[in-house]
């Protein structure tokens, strides 16, 4: 899908990344705005209010994470000043808040700003200002484009890649599939759907029905009925946990038994599978790159134990069944490493260079075998996922770890 060879490390730095001016503070130490001998400022936006406020927990974990880093003595002796603002998932508000971060607070970079439309609204601005927009919290496929946007980098496997993998799996395993797709009617759903169609290639005609829902819809019952009526034998479920669970349950209720593929967004056992009823979920295929905190197969995993200790110590009272905490922890860890690797050269350019220099780097809570690799031409940190099949009350991973290029 992506022409660049993602495992090639290009020595040196991307031409684009050196252009920005840096000033010399002392013999070895180099700083841009937002960094000094004592402090590193990083900025973040997140919906703490409004209809998307369930993502607010990501911001809360980041706050706890950076506080814990500072309690350990900070990064290379510098305290991290993590500034987070509420944008209510509204792009105009994101623009306002991010400009405040960059121009008033003068942060070194933004980190894990959340939402596809929100990040789209600041994409150009960040690149004009040449301030790193690191590890954005969206799975859209447009964040890894170093040629045009050398200051923006994604984090999680993008939706399109994931959808391509499902499409290939369907073509290889289900003969003469008639596919029904349920999709959330926004850019997240659209991205999956586009990838899915790309993955089917010439067999795109196998999609017999494509239905959408709005997040204000109370239920997706009507949509599921339409899919059943179209005679679909494969069900690709592109929805957030609440609606995914509804759809799985409704399908069982009306006696529709297709082969089900569920997007990774809703792969949480606690948030989707349990509410949908384990009986109704047997055999559903999804994919994962992170460990699910509610999946008991990880109970004795060392990473999971460390994370649980972290949660108990720094966020007592938080609901550890929420997969967002795992996500936020892992991306914070990567940010911490990136800042560490910068050493005393805390400039925008060096930060981008370090972010683009990870080689098979292991982040805790990623599935065993999945690592982060980036380069001057590869701005997709995680590109690997593993298919999993739901069995009894937990996910069974199967097959190889899949990369975009291996599909």
């Amino acid at each position: 899908m992506y022409k660049t060879n993602r495992r090639t490390f290009v020595a040196g730095v991307s031409a684009a990344a050196i252009v920005s001016g840096t000033r010399v503070a002392s013999a070895q130490k180099k700083y841009d705005d937002g960094a000094s001998d004592t402090e590193i400022k990083i900025g973040h936006t997140n919906p703490y209010s409004g209809p998307a406020s369930s993502y607010g927990v990501i911001g809360k974990l980041h706050q706890a994470y950076w506080k814990a880093v500072n309690d350990r003595g900070g990064i290379n002796g510098r305290k991290v000043n993590f500034i987070t603002y509420d944008d209510g998932y509204s792009p105009p508000k994101t623009v306002e808040m991010v400009r405040k971060l960059v121009e008033e607070d003068k942060v070194l970079c933004t980190f894990n700003t959340l939402g596809t439309p929100c990040n789209t609204a600041i994409h150009k601005y960040m690149n004009q200002k040449k301030v790193p927009q690191l590890y954005v919290a969206t799975g859209a496929s447009k964040w890894g484009d170093p040629q045009h946007f050398p200051w923006t980098m994604g984090y999680q496997p993008d939706y399109q890649t994931e959808a391509v993998i499902y499409a290939k799996h369907i073509l290889a395993n289900v003969k003469g599939a008639k596919i029904g797709v349920l999709m959330q009617n926004d850019d997240y759903g659209k991205d999956y759907y586009e990838g899915f169609k790309k993955g089917l290639g010439k067999d795109v005609g196998q999609i017999v029905k494509h239905v959408t829902y709005e997040t204000t819809d109370p239920t997706v019952d009507s949509q599921v009925i339409q899919l059943k009526d179209a005679g679909a034998t494969v069900f690709f479920n592109i929805s957030i946990p609440k609606f995914a669970a509804q759809a799985i349950r409704k399908a069982a209720d009306i006696g529709w038994k297709p082969t089900q593929y569920l997007n990774n967004v809703s792969a949480s056992v606690a948030a989707t599978m349990k509410p949908a009823g384990f009986d109704n979920c047997q055999g559903i295929i999804s994919s994962q790159y992170l460990m699910d905190p509610t999946d008991h197969q990880w109970n004795s995993n060392a990473d999971m134990k460390t994370w649980q200790d972290f949660m108990a110590k720094n966020m007592p009272g938080a609901n550890t069944a929420d997969a967002s905490y795992v996500y936020a922890y892992s991306v914070s860890y990567l940010m911490e490493q990136t800042l560490k690797n910068c050493g005393d050269n805390l400039t925008h350019a060096n930060l981008m260079k370090q972010a683009a220099s990870f080689q098979k780097f292991r982040i805790p809570l990623l599935l065993p075998g999945i690592t982060v690799s980036t380069s001057a031409t590869d701005f997709y940190p995680i590109q690997a996922i593993r298919l999993a099949r739901f069995n009894k009350d937990s996910w069974d991973q199967f097959g190889d770890i899949m990369h975009a290029e291996s599909t």
């Binding site: 209010s49 209809p51 406020s53 369930s54 607010g56 927990v57 009617n185 239905v211 959408t212 829902y213 709005e214 997040t215 204000t216 819809d217 109370p218 239920t219 019952d221 009507s222 949509q223 009925i225 339409q226 059943k228 009526d229 946990p241 609440k242 669970a245 509804q246 209720d253 009306i254 006696g255 606690a270 948030a271 349990k274 509410p275 938080a318 609901n319 069944a321 929420d322």
Partner: protein
Amino acid sequence: MEQFLEQLASGLANGAIYACVALALVMIYVSTDHLNFAQGEMAMFSTYISWQLMQWGLNFWVAFVGAVLISFVLGLLIERVILRPLHNAPVLSVVVVFIGLLAICNSMAGAIWSYLIKEYPSPFPKSSFGIGGVIGAHQLGVVLVTLIVLSLLFVFFRFTPLGLAMRAAAQNPQMARLVGVRVDWMLALGWGLAAAVGAVAGIMVAHIVYLDPNMMGGILLYAFASALIGGIGNPGGAVLGGFIVGVLENMVAYTGNQIEKLTGVYIIGNGEKLTVALIIVIFVLTLKPAGLFGRVVVKRV
């Protein structure tokens, strides 16, 4: 044909949800003359209370009654503490206070119980009825409960002195006061009742849409439409309005599907079903401006 029946059944089931919440809206309107934007969030909060009671080991029906009673008291308190000082404020100012309440209920629920969706049990047996199992037991139960609540309200307002006093207090406070009705307390009582009805609605809805702090966001929009179609002051109309919106919406999607099947051209589908349903509703309303079942109020000059 099978799809038609299934869509009809699913429309009725959704309609029951809207009807339930619409009833709570009408309650407030009948007793205080306000449209309460925070109704959905209050119902959500009540549902969490019942969930919490069940977590503490209570049986479903005990938790149900407990949550309804607690909601009644909370509703009463909200009126006495928050709205009382605003009795003489303009309507729009009260609407803003409702929005404030909405924000508070929503964020407090998130802070206390987290935003993760929770499954909520159904008190009804797990089976399906009708041809090909088109309607589930819970959906049928919701319809039943809605109708029971409706009849109780009808009896209460029509045949009890307290109900009469409440109607009087809402429609003509001055006159009611003159004949000895304690208008202030009637308003508070109205809030209490509305909160209690909301709790019933929330508990019925939660099994279907799952419990989370934002579960009522979308439903409230539909409930508003339902309540208004039926004539905002008419509980029976609100229930019927709920069913109309639920069925109409599914029928729009169904028709769109059939057109696409026949002609191969996409004209309307799920993305537009709410829009089209609302356009139909508004068109009807322009012909019958007092709602389908509302009485036309003759204005005195």
